[in-house]
């Protein structure tokens, strides 16, 4: 039985010359192949470039912007609601104008982006870890535990995210840390469900059986073998969820339950300027709004491209 069938092996040899042409030999690593495929889409590359620029600006914000908008001692209300391009006594020019408290809008936007990206990436990272762990455990062990975990996920997903986040923040109070906690709580279920789905498929494949038969520990099977093969959909969801998290944080701050008013994020900047829209002082709301849209669109472009590349059904 274990002896190779000579007829079958000769057939495989015949087919070999044809398959050799398909993958170019220099692209051995799947990651490099992914990178090259990714770069084939210009919008996606542009999106990635925007994200990188914003990330660098956000990380080095204190070095590149003229004012720390969160330091009340640096603000002067006599400089309040100045239009874009107005000169300032403290430093050069308010290129994007100031809000009613005398905050330089350019500085405030960069600092706001900082909060947005921090909240987006940290909350997604935590939600990803928690959600994948729950999903893997549910898929691997099945049975009652699976039902229990998935019913919790169902309940979680049946409430609108914004509602749950509003309630949580009403309980916790203001603060970036609390916004992150609230976002993790509303987001983990997406990952749990997605990971469970792909893990159920992978679970039935032979390599998992082989690993179990070899007597590998449960943890090693779960995280060493099952998890890596569930990663493609996870990466896509995580990317798109970063954009969701940024938008959700902006919404919460706009509604006044997110960050403290003396440390505005983009959503709060928009809310602060909102009431001035009709009195002609458009810049207080407008520029933070543009910044928010640009970031979210960029993340979504990257996410869409990744989904195209990592979805086996869409592979050409």
């Amino acid at each position: 039985m274990s002896e190779p069938d000579p007829g079958l092996s000769s057939g495989a040899v015949v087919a070999e010359p044809e398959t050799l042409h398909a993958p170019p030999p220099r692209l051995s690593s799947p990651l490099a192949r992914l990178a090259l495929d990714f770069c084939a889409s210009r919008p996606a590359v542009a999106g990635l470039a925007v994200i990188l620029v914003v990330a660098v600006a956000a990380i080095f914000a204190p070095l590149i912007v003229p004012q720390n908008p969160y330091d009340l001692a640096q603000l002067d209300i006599m400089d309040g609601t100045l239009p874009p391009g107005s000169p300032s006594y403290a430093f050069g020019t308010y290129w994007l104008g100031t809000d009613v408290q005398g905050r330089d809008m350019l500085s405030a936007i960069v600092y706001g982006l900082r909060i947005s990206l921090l909240v987006g990436s940290v909350s997604v990272a935590f939600a990803l870890v928690i959600g994948s762990a729950v999903g893997l455990v549910a898929a691997f062990f099945g049975g009652g535990l699976d039902s229990l975990l998935m019913r919790i996920v169902d309940i979680q997903l049946s409430f609108p995210a914004i509602l749950v986040a509003l309630i949580l923040l009403a309980i916790f109070g203001n603060g970036v840390d609390k916004v992150i906690i609230a976002l993790v709580i509303v987001q983990w279920a997406y990952y749990a469900r997605a990971v469970r789905g792909s893990a159920l498929v992978e679970r039935r494949k032979e390599y998992i059986d082989a690993a179990v038969c070899l007597g590998l520990g449960t943890r090693r099977v779960l995280f060493g073998h099952l998890l890596p093969n569930c990663l493609p959909p996870l990466i896509v969801i995580a990317t798109v969820q970063v954009a969701h998290a940024v938008a959700l944080e902006a919404t919460l701050s706009f509604l006044g339950v997110g960050v403290p008013i003396t440390e505005p994020s983009l959503g709060l900047l928009i809310a602060n300027g909102f009431e001035y829209m009709m009195s002609g002082r458009y810049w207080i709301s407008f520029f933070p709004g543009v910044a928010l849209v640009v970031v979210i669109v960029a993340i979504n472009l990257v996410g869409d491209r990744l989904r195209d590349l990592l979805n086996p059904r869409l592979q050409r």
Partner: protein, 535 residues
């Protein structure tokens, strides 16, 4: 949640603008009928005039009911259902009542109605803010004849006429037993059954959250009221309220947002009327115990017990900048708790000059050369630009070394937290219901004392026996000139002790469509009686 409404407001606002642009002629059309529609920033919580002592409620009952005495736009006392009143001795007052007045349901008005009204005040169930503060001093009442009322007070009470002007007179014949129990119920006023007064307008319909409709009382004793029908529409969001005015849906709105005033003033189809109010916006500081919840970096000491620190805070704030930049010029920097010119305001006091260097020096003298950390509490939907003013104050304090963060919350949450002394410093406002100085002094700075009705809103728990003594004395002085002098002295003592820090007096605005005029009221009441056809 307010911001959710505000978000919807934006859309409605843009639509409103478009509508206004499209239907410029429609604006003129509504001017023909003698109907008036008013957009209110906040609606009355009930039509029971004795249920809730709150500006929107008091403004509403003035239409349906009359007081024994009325207050004009400047809060001076005018004859109402009483044509004349005088003290017979230190504790006895005589009121001559108006003859021939009937309630809307035809029942005649006499002294028994007044006695019934005053006896009902303490018997209103679940009143969130009771009118008993105005009736506490009354010891006994007697109808000498149907049109002569004698009221005796426990102690000399010069403010009795002012206090009675805050009480709506209800009909004894209509209300007695009407709700089954001993006293009429609030719900029966809201439904309209008992909303029967002697006032210029009659109740027609009250749908809470949507509209209050009144019709003209043709038999009004004070002459024929101007409008056939008056409709109040609550529109709490600023944007939609302005849009409703621009589109012609309403004829008058109250409290147009300060940031829209320049645009409204420039609009040919809109008139804006503004007037100084009796409301002062102030900072109160916890001066009670040696530890205080909202301060850090003082080794557990409460800095505000030191007068030098309070003075430093006052000097650190540029009140004129706040008025100019945050309030858009629609406010007046405050030097005490009631604007000069009103009864008991000290004409000698001046607005504290902005002096950050002096503030730093005082802080260093008081032992805080590096300042300290402070949390400033504020409501974010109660007073005009309250949250923004608090941020500006935080900015000024941070600049002299007091690193201040702002803790803003919605009014119900804020007042609950303030009343449980959660703030070391908070921003709030006080409108003087009586239009004279004893009101803010008693409420905000007199040592809290339930018996005397002192310090009900003194949540900084400031206590100064000299001030208390002056207020005591003033409240027992029947002679107006003597009383005014005592109140001025008390005001002077408090301000010079920095017991409370006044920031500014609110200026209240109303906007009307072209063709109407509004007479601003210091009590901030929005009233159909203040609206006239412009000539």
């Amino acid at each position: 949640m307010n911001r959710i409404l505000a978000a919807c407001a934006g859309g409605a606002f843009v639509l409103g603008l478009a509508q206004a642009a499209l239907s410029g002629t429609a604006l003129v059309g509504t001017a023909l009928a003698d109907d008036l529609t008013i957009g209110l920033a906040s609606e009355p919580s009930a039509l029971d005039p004795h249920y809730h002592n709150l500006t929107p409620n008091n403004a509403a009952w003035q239409h349906i009911f009359d007081g024994l005495i009325s207050q004009d736009a400047k809060q001076r006392l005018q004859p109402g259902l009483a044509v004349a009143w005088k003290p017979l001795d230190a504790t006895t007052w005589e009121f001559d009542l108006r003859k021939g007045v009937t309630f809307h349901d035809g029942t005649p008005f006499d002294a028994e109605d007044v006695i019934y009204t005053i006896r009902r005040i303490p018997n209103v169930a679940n009143s969130p803010s009771s009118f008993t503060i105005y009736t506490k001093s009354i010891a006994s009442m007697e109808a000498k004849d149907p049109y002569t009322l004698i009221i005796k007070t426990e102690a000399p009470r010069p403010l009795l006429p002012t206090e009675l002007s805050n009480l709506a007179i209800i009909s004894k014949e209509t209300c007695e037993g009407a709700s089954g129990g001993d006293w009429p119920k609030t719900e029966d006023f809201n439904s309209g059954t008992l909303a029967v007064g002697t006032g210029p307008y009659k109740f027609a319909e009250f749908v809470k959250g949507d509209r209050l409709v009144l019709t003209r009382n043709d038999d009004y004793w004070g002459g024929k009221p101007t409008w056939d029908k008056v409709t109040f529409k609550p529109i709490s969001s600023d944007g939609p309220r302005v849009a409703a005015l621009l589109s012609g849906d309403v004829d008058v709105i109250d409290n147009p947002p300060t940031q829209d005033l320049p645009r409204l003033k420039a609009d040919k189809n809109i008139n804006v009327y503004s007037g100084l109010s009796n409301r002062v916006i102030y900072l109160h500081m916890d001066q009670f115990a040696d530890d205080t919840p909202g301060v850090q970096g003082t080794n557990g000491r409460n800095p505000f017990k030191d007068k030098r620190v309070r003075e430093a805070v006052s000097k650190a704030i540029d009140r004129k900048a706040i008025v100019e930049k945050i309030m858009g010029g629609v406010a007046v920097a405050a030097e005490q708790l009631l604007p000069k010119g009103m009864f008991g305001a000290d004409p000698a006091l001046e607005v504290e000059a902005y002096d950050p260097a002096g503030a730093r020096k005082l802080l260093a003298e008081a032992g805080y050369p590096d300042g300290f950390k402070l949390v400033l509490g504020t409501p974010n939907d109660r007073y005009i630009n309250d949250e923004k003013v608090a941020q500006a104050v935080a900015q000024f304090l941070t600049r002299v070394g007091i690193q201040t963060t702002v803790d803003a919350s919605t009014k119900s949450v804020f007042f609950k937290r303030r009343n449980s002394y959660e703030f070391s410093m908070y921003l709030a406002g006080w409108g003087s219901g009586t239009g004279e100085m004893s009101s803010p002094l008693r409420a905000l700075v007199a040592t809290p004392d339930k018996e005397k009705g002192y310090g009900g809103t003194n949540r900084g728990r400031y206590s100064n026996p000299a001030v208390d003594a002056k207020i005591d004395e003033a409240l027992q002085t029947l002679d107006d000139a003597g009383r005014e002098k005592l109140l001025q002295e008390a005001s002077d003592l408090v301000i010079k002790d920095y017991g409370i820090l006044p920031l500014h007096y609110e200026v209240t605005s109303w906007a009307t469509r072209k063709g109407l005029a509004y007479e601003p009221r210091t009590d901030q009441y929005t009233s159909a009686m203040s609206v006239t056809q412009a000539q």
